[in-house]
């Protein structure tokens, strides 16, 4: 099963290497890792999608906790959360197919961000399902290039996963 981990870390040099390196050497599989700073410039937030059963993910979280730069880990998989990914797709767009592509862009509430003589570049944000569906619908035209940011996620409602709390254990067990 795929788990979504929200990890707050100190924005120190090398923190990404520490986290990513831990995954590789312990043999854990990262599906996606997105990182950026938070409202506090000293703190970054990572959203890590990791594949594994509950026991593996518990071990992942515990090992991550051992990194001094890691402030907090929340496995938000089973809580209601919103998640988004951004994707840029450069697709073949001959004059004959342009209208059809633009229709798809409308349907998916995507945006055209660049127009070339033979291509269109579109951006779309959404959850994984939507992005997969959009990609599938553009595939017949010929995708020349595609880049995804990886998933970011945030709990719904009043709950947050960014504040430090004194009992780190709570979130991993």
């Amino acid at each position: 099963m795929r788990h979504t981990l929200a990890v707050t870390v100190e924005n120190n040099p090398g923190v990404l290497t520490r986290v990513a390196g831990l995954f590789s050497r312990r043999g854990f599989n990262i599906d996606s890792l997105a990182v950026g700073r938070t409202e506090n410039p000293r703190i970054s937030r990572m959203t890590i999608i990791v594949e594994g059963d509950d026991q593996v993910v518990e071990q992942v979280a515990k090992q991550l906790h051992k990194l001094v730069d890691v402030i907090k880990i929340s496995d938000i998989t089973r809580s209601p959360y919103v998640d988004r990914e951004l994707v840029l797709i450069k697709v073949n767009a001959e004059p004959a197919s342009r209208a059809e592509i633009m229709q798809l862009v409308d349907i998916f509430r995507a945006r055209i961000v660049d127009v070339g003589p033979k291509t269109l570049t579109v951006e779309v944000t959404g959850d994984e399902g939507k992005i997969d569906a959009f990609e599938q619908s553009l595939r017949p035209f010929g995708i020349k290039e595609l880049v995804r940011t990886g998933k970011i996620a945030m709990l719904r409602g009043i709950k947050t996963s960014s504040k430090n709390n004194s009992h780190k254990e709570e979130d991993t067990n």
Partner: protein
């Protein structure tokens, strides 16, 4: 006040109570060495950076204070790597300081540049590259805090040369800035009660005590627990000495080269109380057959150790000493006679033994070291057969008396570690029990011992082969002895060349006089015991086998 970065470093080290550093100079560490020239800190010059790291490790394990080692950049730093990895695997508090090229030269493959932070990421608890001199004092403070608290471990500080040579405003360090670091100390009371109930319900409990008991100084609490429950105690290799080996409830070591009675007891117990131990594969053997009938209580300060290898019924995260005290407050005494009798029968039926055929036996030498020192020696070992025999035949009764490389299994550890132990415990008798293979991996450190008049004793159990590898070849590789025969130097002459005393022993009658001479001597002594080549370490659980099924 303006001070050089190196001076700030040394001032900060002194603020942490550091009085001794083990190290080796070189280009990018020169500003630090220059500052050391005027400092009160004692510097022990080893003959190799690996020796410095192991010496700092031995010092830390013997004294309980963090060990500090210092090396220059590039090759100096990479030579520390084995010693850092060794300390990491055995949870030893250590601060390793490395010189680094100047900040402007970083990342350009400059002369003697190595990304030592990158290289040591998997084997340090934390690390710092000091890019901002104003943070130096805080970095040192944090490094010692991280290295010594929670589950201890090595922390690396990489110092660019322009930081150590530049002049900066010095302010003593302020607050620690470690929002993500807060090790738990007390066990969760509900879990402690649950453990107490499980203990009360058990008929055949066994305590399995590891290095965590030594680190947390919980040997008194462990003794109380065992005596209150009348429960037998087996130790891991690193746990030896945390429970008196001469106590009737002691089962000695368990696992691959454990005693039969320890392994049988674990196989038949209905409750396993794991205290500061991490279920290493050398202990458990095949996991499915390890303590198959037992409920498992696991007490450890590192939450990641719980459930890593075995299923745990009652996990308690916390400092072993604190958790055991909590547990002792709520426990009732008692235990069925039947279990105690069964264990005593095993102890009588399957004692540790070896065939005394008149030849010089390694086991007999180790027993003699124990007898002649009254068990009061600090013993280090290298890695191999001699290490296992030491764990089996030297009766460790006190914590921090056995200093050995457990997790990493580092040949070449024992001699430099013995030097660190002797520096930390100048009035005590220190023995490195060595093999003829291992001793040659850091034999140059004999020169360090002579240089600083450290009377360490080296007992080489010399069988002319890489004994443990040869044993595996005999048992599991059809006696194809590939590359395990050693052609050795004359160890006596070598010792003398270094300025130490050398003694050769070939007959059982010569053992005691040689050891007595070594103990009396105020100089380092190396004794070459030419022992029976064919001797194997028994009992033995074949790798991956069930610990209830032992050879020998």
């Amino acid at each position: 006040m303006k001070l050089s970065g190196a001076e700030i470093l040394l001032k900060s080290l002194q603020a942490e109570g550091v009085d001794t550093i083990f190290g080796y100079p070189g280009g990018q560490a020169l500003p630090i060495y220059d500052a050391l020239y005027d400092s009160d800190i004692r510097h022990i010059l080893t003959r190799h950076e690996q020796g410095a790291a192991h010496a700092a490790d031995g010092y830390a394990r013997a004294t309980g204070r963090p060990g500090v080692c210092l090396a220059t950049s590039g090759p100096g730093a990479t030579n520390l790597v084995t010693g850092i990895a060794n300390a990491y695997m055995d949870s030893v508090p250590m601060v390793a300081i490395t010189g680094q090229v100047s900040r402007a030269l970083l990342g350009r493959d400059s002369f003697q540049e190595a990304d030592i932070i990158g290289i040591t990421l998997p084997i340090t608890k934390h690390s710092y590259l000091v890019e901002d001199p104003s943070e130096l004092a805080r970095v040192v403070k944090e490094a010692f805090h991280v290295a010594t608290t929670g589950r201890p471990g090595p922390v690396l500080i990489d110092m660019p040369k322009d930081v150590s040579s530049g002049m900066f405003d010095y302010e003593a360090s302020g607050e620690l800035q470690l929002p993500g670091y807060s090790p738990v100390k007390d066990g969760e009371p509900g879990r402690v009660l649950e453990a107490a109930r499980a203990i009360a319900a058990s008929k055949r409990p066994v305590i399995y005590a590891g290095g965590g008991v030594v680190i947390s100084g919980a040997h008194q609490e462990l003794l109380q627990l065992a005596e209150l429950l009348m429960a037998p105690v087996c130790n891991t290799l690193l746990g030896m000495g945390s429970f008196p080996g001469n106590h009737p409830l002691s089962l000695g070591m368990l696992g691959m080269h454990g005693t039969k009675y320890a392994n049988f007891a674990v196989c038949e117990c209905d409750l396993l109380i794991a205290v500061g131990a991490r279920f290493d594969d050398r202990v458990t053997g095949k996991l499915e057959t390890f303590a198959p009938e037992a409920k498992v209580i696991h007490i450890d300060i590192d939450p990641a150790e719980i459930g890593k290898n075995v299923r745990v019924d009652i996990p308690i995260v916390g400092d072993v000493k604190r958790v055991l005290s909590q547990l002792l407050e709520v426990l009732q005494p008692g235990l069925g006679e039947a279990w105690r009798d069964r264990i005593q029968t095993w102890k009588k039926e399957y004692p540790l033994s070896y065939c005394d055929n008149g030849r010089l036996k390694p086991q007999a030498i180790i027993k003699e070291i124990y007898n002649l020192t009254g068990g009061a020696a600090r013993v280090t070992t290298e890695v191999g057969q001699h290490q296992m025999w030491t764990a089996q035949y030297y009766t460790f009764t006190k914590p921090r008396s056995f200093i050995t490389s457990g997790g990493l299994g580092t040949m070449g550890f024992g001699l430099p570690a013995a030097i660190g132990v002797q520096v930390g415990c100048p009035d005590e008798v220190v023995f490195d029990i060595a093999g003829d293979g291992s001793i040659q991996m850091n034999i140059q450190e004999l020169c360090t011992a002579v240089n600083y008049e450290l009377p360490v004793n080296v007992a080489i159990l010399d069988n002319g082969v890489l004994g443990m590898v040869r044993q595996w070849q005999e048992l599991f590789y059809n006696r194809r002895y590939s590359q395990t025969e050693l052609s050795n130097p004359d160890f006596v002459k070598l010792a003398e060349a270094y300025g130490a005393e050398g003694i050769r022993v070939t007959k059982p009658a010569e053992v005691a006089p040689a050891l007595e001479q070594a103990i009396r001597s105020s100089r380092p002594v190396m004794i070459d015991f030419v022992v029976d080549r064919e001797e194997n370490v028994l009992p033995m659980v074949p790798p991956g086998g069930s610990i209830g099924k032992m050879l020998g």
